[in-house]
């Protein structure tokens, strides 16, 4: 008896295609995230949807940082830190991207999509 008949091969091919298609549909690269996790120190203080344009004040260690969400992106627009590196960082939108105001202890990370990179050289 033949181990595989033509019908079995067809079933296996169709199955493989189905796995590929479901993987692409469910797990693969939508690199733009749809939410931001905002933390101060080790505490998560807010989950913010990137689908709704708005401004979010966050009280940190030095004072108030202001975050802006627009067109699926988020950035620091105001911060009490002297260096303003957080504002220099600009918009972030890709899953895994981080913007931080270290003096104020405020960290923003984009989540919700596929992580394109495990780390980004800055």
């Amino acid at each position: 008896m033949r181990i595989l008949r033509a019908g079995d091969v067809l079933i296996l091919l169709a199955g493989t295609a189905l796995v590929g298609a479901s993987y692409a549909a469910f797990w693969s690269p939508r690199v733009e995230g749809d939410k931001a996790i905002i933390s101060v120190g080790h505490d998560t203080v807010a989950h913010a949807s990137l689908l709704e344009d708005r401004k979010i004040p966050i009280d940190g260690l030095l004072g108030r940082s202001l975050l802006q969400i627009e067109d699926g992106r988020i950035r620091f627009t105001e911060s009490p830190c002297p260096g303003r590196y957080c504002i220099h960082t600009g918009w972030i939108s890709r899953t895994g991207q981080v913007a931080a105001c270290l003096p104020n202890g405020v960290v923003v990370e984009v989540e919700g999509g596929a992580r394109e990179f495990d780390a980004i050289n800055l």
């Binding site: 008896m1 796995v19 002297p82 260096g83 270290l102 990179f117 495990d118 980004i120 800055l122």
Partner: protein, 354 residues
Amino acid sequence: MTGHGLVAGPFRLRWAICAVLLIVAACARDPVETRYRFTAMGTLVEVTIFDHPPLEAEAAARDVETLFLDLQHRWDPWDDGPLGRLNQALAAGGSVQVDPGLAGIIDRSNDIARASGGAFDPAVGSLVKLWGFDDAANIPDRPPSSMTIRTALEAMQPLPGIWDPSTATVATAPGVAIDLGGFAKGEAVDRAISLLQEHGVANAIVNAGGDLRAIGRRGNRPWRIGVREPRLEGVLAAIEVSGDQSVFTSGDYERFFELEGRRYHHILDPRTGYPSQGLISVTVLADNAATADAACTALMVSGPERWPGVASGLGLDKVMVVEDTGVIQITPAMHGKVRLLREDRPDLQIREIP
């Protein structure tokens, strides 16, 4: 059912088994990834550990945090730790014998300073302070006067000229302060990886403000590292690493201020006293993080023409630099590792290491 299982079984059973296998395959998820983040050495440090029991992974990452905070204190050039005290003693005059813990890192940074031909020099501390780039929380808004820069340069002596490794002594050099800033982060990353390995961690990234060393893999694929665009938003290139490799990038966009249309950044040329010119970004792939860290500084300082010679002295073969004109120069070995992601075709030059 005969003894032929799936092949000879009823058609419906075969479909059912196939369907179950497909669902399992489609839904299979990776083993757990643990991410732990903290602030140290003026930057955000992230430890990523893959396929390791989460509680043990978090404990290991917390130990890395303790390590970084300890090293931050020890290697701060202006605090009251061992390096701060060394600089105070140098400023007071007389030679200084260095304790063994600090002597090791000074010795290694001295070797790299020598190999770089002076493009990297930890004895640049007074100059860094004069410019105001010593304070991670603040950014200066104007350059020092040319006269004060000239005075600082005249007082400076390269580390290889004042460091005696046989006695672990720094010779009398009152105008010199040692700043391990271009090396300490890499050395800390190396020590963090060793610590994780002592915890039995085989797959991890220690990422200190974007500069990292990665060990192992992320499951069935290598670790994926992005290199940021020096001027535009987004990612310039993707690099896949596995086994044990460090990827460091330095650029003129990290800490800078602009005055009258000119950018002044934090990577200072120890020979001119001013920020380096010609290159806006340097990416180095190396076996260890400390070398990669110092190499980024040395190559930025060396500039668009001379960097391959300095890379050769440092034993590097995987380097990519971006000129201020936008031209990307890349070594053949690095070219094989990097996938450039710019939509428009970049102006690319292959540079051989002599």
